[in-house]
């Protein structure tokens, strides 16, 4: 499946890659950045290999987001890790593309993360569909 993402998401990913590059094993920030990056990369690989829009939750990796949203949103997650809790919110556009909307680590804020992330995802999708109409 084709995966799209906003410029800002791509830049965030690039920044994460730069953070993760450290030769110092004691660099905690680099280690955590690496853990986050590995999970976001894994999510992108999962999405790119998907053949169809999911029809049901497939825990732990993909679940439909239950929080109120104007669009149907899904989140990708990973098995429990003590240092990171990375999520990637996506939206499936028809059956040919998936839009990566918001990525982040919700470890410190737990599910409150979704409150802002869902709003952010809705705004991104408004923008996405506006652009599709124009083009």
């Amino acid at each position: 499946m084709l995966v799209r993402g906003a410029d800002s998401f791509s830049r965030w990913l690039t920044s994460l890659r730069l953070d993760a590059k450290s030769n110092n094993p004691n660099n905690t920030a680099a280690r955590v950045a690496r853990l986050r990056l590995d999970r976001i990369n894994a999510f992108l690989l999962v999405l790119s290999r998907m053949q169809a829009v999911p029809t049901a939750d497939d825990p732990p990796v993909i679940k439909r987001i239950r929080q109120s949203s104007r669009y149907e949103l899904w989140r990708l997650g990973h098995p429990h890790h003590s240092e990171v809790c990375v999520r990637l919110i996506v939206h499936f556009h028809a059956s040919e593309a998936v839009v990566a909307l918001v990525g982040g680590d919700k470890l410190r804020v737990s599910d409150q993360w979704y409150d802002t992330a869902v709003k952010q995802a809705n705004a991104a999708l408004d923008h996405y569909y506006r652009q599709r109409e124009v083009s």
Binding site: D7, S8, W12, A42, L44, P79, C85, V102
Partner: protein, 191 residues
């Protein structure tokens, strides 16, 4: 994460366009370091999915029972059973009742340590608030546990909190009524 990269990807701006991420995905596959990290996580995800698929559903199927059968045994709806089988985190008491309804057997907890023999706990005491038998007649193995502070909380909460505090078991939720500190710990668990 460094001061340069926010914990969450930034909000969309009017200047943003949506681009094909295929080059970024190709870069993951092409870079051995990135590829190894991502594939390690993929392996963890695969293992978790297999464990989940082979978990409660397989146990039930191996006893030739349907969700409706188990629901009837427990006095719950079939939807409740489906939900239980798909949850990533379960109260010990819920799991105990589920296992008992399917197999008639008892759930046991084995804690392994790096440098000593494993400890086995009888979870007969971990019961629903209405299961007075197990509350009034704790098993002898329960006596070997460290004493918990007296509490008016329901048994499942007290025991699951203690179990969780020993950090020995994944997929065990602490009780709903915990101290602020433990509640903070609870909310930080993966969901």
């Amino acid at each position: 994460m460094s001061k340069h990269t926010p914990t969450t990807s930034p909000a969309i701006t009017a200047r943003d366009t949506f681009v094909d991420l295929t080059p970024a995905i190709d870069a993951i596959n092409a870079d051995p370091e990135l590829s190894t990290g991502a594939r390690t996580v993929l392996a963890e995800i695969d293992a978790a999915q297999v464990a989940h698929a082979l978990g409660l559903q397989m146990l039930r199927a191996s006893f030739g029972l349907t969700q409706a059968d188990v629901a009837a045994n427990l006095g719950l709806s079939q939807a409740n059973i489906a939900q239980t089988e798909h949850r990533q985190d379960l109260l010990v008491s819920t799991l105990r009742r589920y296992v008992k309804a399917i197999t008639g057997g008892e759930l046991r907890l084995i804690i392994t340590f790096p440098n000593r023999a494993p400890l086995e706990f009888d979870l007969g005491e971990v019961a629903s608030p209405t299961d007075k038998r197990s509350v009034q007649q704790p098993t002898s193995r329960a006596a070997m546990r460290p004493k918990a502070a007296p509490s008016s909380t329901r048994p499942e909460g007290r025991v699951s909190q203690r179990v969780a505090s020993e950090r020995t078991v994944g997929h065990v939720l602490p009780p709903k009524h915990t101290s602020k500190a433990s509640a903070t710990k609870r909310t930080s668990r993966a969901r």
